[in-house]
């Protein structure tokens, strides 16, 4: 069974690790998590980003956060990628599979997947 002692061990292991928080340099992945996003499937998309960022060891470079409705509900699940000095990328109609691909190609490899962006997908 999971115990608080095990949590203590996680804490001891993590306490010296630098964790990327809001406002720091790096890439910020923002998942829309209002009613529209949740109903369209944002929960598993967010989960796929959290898993993927950990799996690819990008935690010190990429933060995954949530936001409310940004007003383009017909395109949900919507994911925005912010990177200092670069234009914002808006991925739309996301799925966990597409999220995994964005982690590998864009967040890790630096290549925007244009066909998943708002300019390429119709409502």
């Amino acid at each position: 069974m999971k115990s608080l002692a095990e949590l203590q061990a996680i804490k001891n292991r993590m306490k010296d690790k630098v964790i990327l928080r809001d406002g720091m340099e790096g890439i910020r992945v923002v998942v829309g998590m209002a009613t529209c996003g949740i109903a369209a499937g944002a929960r598993p998309v967010l989960n796929a980003f959290v898993e993927g960022v950990n799996k690819e060891d990008l935690e010190d470079k990429v933060s995954v956060t949530q936001t409310g409705c940004i007003g383009i509900c017909q395109y949900e699940p919507v994911v925005e990628v912010f990177e200092a000095g670069k234009e914002k990328i808006t991925y739309v109609k996301m799925t966990p599979e597409k999220a995994q691909e964005v982690v590998e190609k864009h967040l890790k490899g630096g290549q925007v997947i244009s066909e998943y962006t708002i300019g390429a997908v119709s409502a």
Partner: protein, 183 residues
């Protein structure tokens, strides 16, 4: 919404937005009735607002003029012949004991009862997105209990954020084991 756990996630997000320091998600299953309560200590709503939140054309957001969160939960419970009630106290009315209490009841053997779905995943999503506020999750099923209180975890973790990957995985397993232990 395909499962009630998504409604829970959606309505609990309102609590966080209302500035809650503690949001409680309390589920009770007894005699084929499911009661979902979302209780927060946020800023609260006055009577007019409480009356209007069940109206889909009321919302606090500014990007568009409809808010579907509470209306969807109301629909989901009323279609099982259950009901939704909201009690709220604003911070002006009572500076020490303010907040909102949403209660929805469902008849689980009704043909239109939507499955509860993956509540653990909703709890994890809330913690991932709001690591600096606390959540108490309690699911009582015919007398047996699954429980998680982030205040307890925070005491152990001190300044290690609750949304660190290893901590989230620990919470996922912690809840999974408790659900598996239910007979």
């Amino acid at each position: 919404m395909k499962e009630l756990s998504l409604n829970i996630l959606d309505v609990a997000e309102n609590s966080v937005k209302a500035g809650a320091s503690l949001t409680q998600i309390l589920l009770t299953e007894k005699d084929n009735v499911l009661t979902i309560e979302i209780v927060d200590d946020g800023c609260g709503m006055d009577e007019d607002v409480v009356r209007s939140v069940t109206d889909p054309f009321y919302t606090t957001r500014t990007t568009r003029k409809v808010g579907m969160g509470i209306p969807l939960l109301k629909l989901a419970c009323e279609q099982t012949e259950g009901q939704l009630t909201i009690e709220s106290t604003t911070i002006e009315e009572d500076p020490t004991a303010h907040g909102t209490h949403v209660t929805a009841t469902f008849n689980m053997d009704h043909i239109d009862f939507m499955p509860l779905g993956d509540v653990s995943s909703s709890v994890l999503t809330l913690i991932q997105g709001h690591p600096d506020t606390d959540f108490l999750f309690r699911h009582e099923k015919d007398g047996q209990v699954v429980e998680l209180d982030t205040r307890q975890l925070r005491e152990v973790l001190e300044d290690v954020p609750l949304n660190s990957y290893d901590v989230l995985e620990w919470i996922r397993e912690y809840l999974r084991e408790q659900y598996e232990a239910l007979s």
